[in-house]
């Protein structure tokens, strides 16, 4: 099997495509596919590239191309010519320069609406004619933003703006397509935005050959349309197989243990792994099956998903292979278990050696060159366009209903009588408890980087924290907070030292990302409860001023503490609170 086209440098594809096409045409059992391309520009280049991608994807395409800019005629007056070609699908490859009449700058809203209806009507006539006389699936481009918006920023707002017009027209196309399964919109607008207009429009080629795009943009268009074709033909990928160590979390779980995994909010790397996990979950929600293929002990591999910050859970995976067998064998086993073809799998692994062996032994499995930077995984995998779908399935729609209910609930909460009502709308839940091993890493990091919401700014080493966590002379608390916006992770830490008379609060800190959420009240409730349990009658807290922690200068008095000394030093003040008569203060956070 020839090398995967998508792994070749684009310049090489452009230069050697005639040979690449010749080699791929010789592949056995290609599926015939007839495509009529009705273009508003010279389509020879983009069709040339589309042919190459479709060949690589297992099709033997044949093309009809309209004469330059004769898309409208071919769809209407001369539709018999297109029908005679007997296409399996018609692609209307029109671009922003093919809009027939833009609004004029002085247009009213009503005039704009009429102009949109007029332009939409022109395309509607084409679609209806194609459906009546050719009767096949239509792929219709929407429009790029106008390259030269003469009204500047106003162009997107004014009824006479060309950008506004493209918004409205694209919206009208979308509404039309969502009601008609035989019309699929190819999102040229998003494609051009991702590429950037400077890399998209090629004015020399437009004036010279009537090709509107750069070779790079033509390639993007070809690859994008091919992915839609694959989706229409049921050839889209169905399963994402993921490695674990340094793919779904940072670190090697078998060496470092679950406590040292990089996942969650504590470091940039951990956040990036969380973002990638979240993206995997969203793929699953839209119907992509997830599987694990990892060199690990099964039990250890599974334990990684018990990490409190892991967004992915073991039950998200439809197949789970963690062992020491070669990955190609495991991938074959996954395909059998899930009853999927090898050509419907995408394999993601940070290890280039694993990617190479899978690519060599299972060339039909898509293996994106994801590199080893988790921050880029989603971008690189998305660029493969493997998980396109032509329409939402009934299952997809059922899920969409559930989302809709959620959206409605949130929308109902956009106005609040007071701050408390706002806090309630966040549906905050907290987990508060004594230090446990899985959190010690995060606790140490938070202690050593927090400078603002910290009463004493004391620093501790990891070893000291490990010691304190098991020392009965200390009261320790961590707090995690989640709300409708997501999980903020572990964001608050208290260390109290016990003597017979009091809990001395050596450390009280909180991450500033959860300021003004009343989390400090929930922590105080828990601290009082811990003091009572330890038989200490009062809390004693100290505020030590630093250049950065003025934020919490009034922390203790605001929580109802009294000065411990008649003349409290403002730079180092001590405060006490009796626990006997304390009533819980937190009203808005549900604590575990």
């Amino acid at each position: 099997m020839p090398t995967d086209l998508r792994s070749l440098p684009l310049d090489q594809i452009l230069r050697s495509r005639k040979r690449l096409r010749r080699e791929r045409s010789a592949a056995p059992s290609l599926r015939p596919l007839r495509v009529a391309v009705l273009g508003g520009s010279t389509t020879a280049e983009v069709v040339d590239l589309l042919e190459l991608v479709l060949l690589s994807d297992g099709f033997a395409p044949a093309f009809y191309q309209s004469e330059y800019n004769k898309f409208y005629e071919d769809a209407t007056l001369d539709v018999a010519r297109v029908a005679a070609f007997k296409p399996d699908l018609v692609w209307v490859h029109t671009q922003v320069l093919n809009v027939s009449r833009f609004p004029s700058p002085g247009f009213s809203e009503a005039e704009l609406e009429a102009r949109v209806a007029e332009e939409l009507g022109r395309f509607q006539r084409m679609w209806e004619s194609i459906q009546a006389h050719v009767g096949c699936q239509i792929i219709q481009n929407n429009f790029e933003h106008p390259p030269f918006p003469v009204l500047g920023n106003l162009d997107s707002t004014a009824a006479g703006g060309t950008t506004r017009f493209v918004y409205e027209l694209n919206r009208a196309f979308a509404r039309h397509a969502s009601a008609d399964h035989r019309l699929i919109i190819h999102d040229l607008n998003a494609l051009s935005a991702r590429a950037g207009h400077a890399r998209w429009f090629d004015w020399e080629r437009w004036f010279s050959y009537k090709i509107l795009t750069t070779p790079e943009a033509s390639w993007e268009i070809a690859a994008s349309v091919a992915s839609l074709v694959a989706a229409i033909r049921g050839r889209a990928k169905k399963c994402l197989i993921l490695d674990l160590d340094n793919t779904l979390w940072g670190g090697v779980i078998g060496d470092a243990g679950i406590d040292k995994l990089q996942i969650g909010q504590e470091t940039p790397v951990a956040e990036a792994y969380s973002a990638f996990q979240r993206w995997c979950v969203s793929l699953r929600e839209r119907g992509v099956v997830l599987a694990v293929c990892s060199k690990n002990e099964d039990a250890i591999a599974r334990s990684g998903f018990a990490h409190p910050d892991s967004i992915l859970k073991v039950e998200h995976f439809s197949a789970f292979k963690a062992n020491w067998e070669p990955k190609p064998d495991n991938i074959r086993a996954i395909a059998e278990e899930l009853n999927l073809g090898l050509d419907s799998l995408v394999f993601v692994d940070d290890n280039p050696a694993e990617r190479a062996i899978v690519r060599a032994q299972l060339p039909m499995v898509a293996v994106p060159e994801v590199g080893h930077e988790v921050a880029h995984f989603a971008t690189i995998i998305s660029a493969g366009r493997w998980f396109e779908s032509a329409a939402m399935s009934p299952e997809d729609l059922a899920r969409a209903d559930a989302y809709r209910a959620n959206v409605a609930r949130v929308a109902g909460q956009s106005k609040f009588a007071d701050y408390g009502e706002y806090l309630d709308s966040l549906q905050m839940t907290a987990e508060i408890g004594a230090f446990k091993p899985v959190y010690l890493e995060r606790i140490t990091q938070l202690i050593n980087k927090t400078n603002q919401f910290t009463l004493t700014t004391r620093r501790y080493t990891h070893a000291e924290i490990e010691q304190i966590a098991v020392d009965r002379r200390y009261v320790t608390l961590y707090g995690r907070l989640a709300d409708t916006f997501g999980d903020h992770g572990l964001i608050s830490v208290i260390i109290g030292r016990l003597d017979g008379a009091a809990v001395h609060v050596d450390l009280w800190l909180m991450s500033c990302r959860v300021l003004k959420r009343d989390m400090e009240l929930a922590m105080l409730d828990a601290l009082v409860a811990a003091a009572r349990a330890a038989g200490a009658p009062e809390l004693r807290g100290t505020y030590s001023r630093t250049p950065k922690n003025a934020l919490v200068a009034e922390h203790y008095p605001m929580l109802g503490f009294s000065p411990a000394l008649p003349e409290n030093d403002p730079d180092r003040s001590t405060w006490t609170l009796g626990v006997a008569s304390y009533a819980p203060r937190n009203r808005h956070i549900k604590v575990n």
Binding site: L14, R15, S16, R17, K18, R22, E45, D48, S208, P215
Partner: protein, 82 residues
Amino acid sequence: MDSASIISELTPIFQDVLDLPDLVLVLASSSSTVEGWDSLAHVNLVVAIEKHYKLKFSLGELEGLKNVGEMADLIARKLAKA
């Protein structure tokens, strides 16, 4: 760079783009003498040449070139200016 050495660099480009591994280019080679040099091939050749020499032909610069020799002269002039 002179036109002769440019032609020797253009040869593998033409061979790749036209998928003619044995193609021999001479000064007089033109779209009427080289097999498969149609309008799409012309676009592809221009792209490949521009990328190879990291230059852009200006609008109209390629019009009226009669053969590979004239194209090589144009490239030589552009490279000398760059």
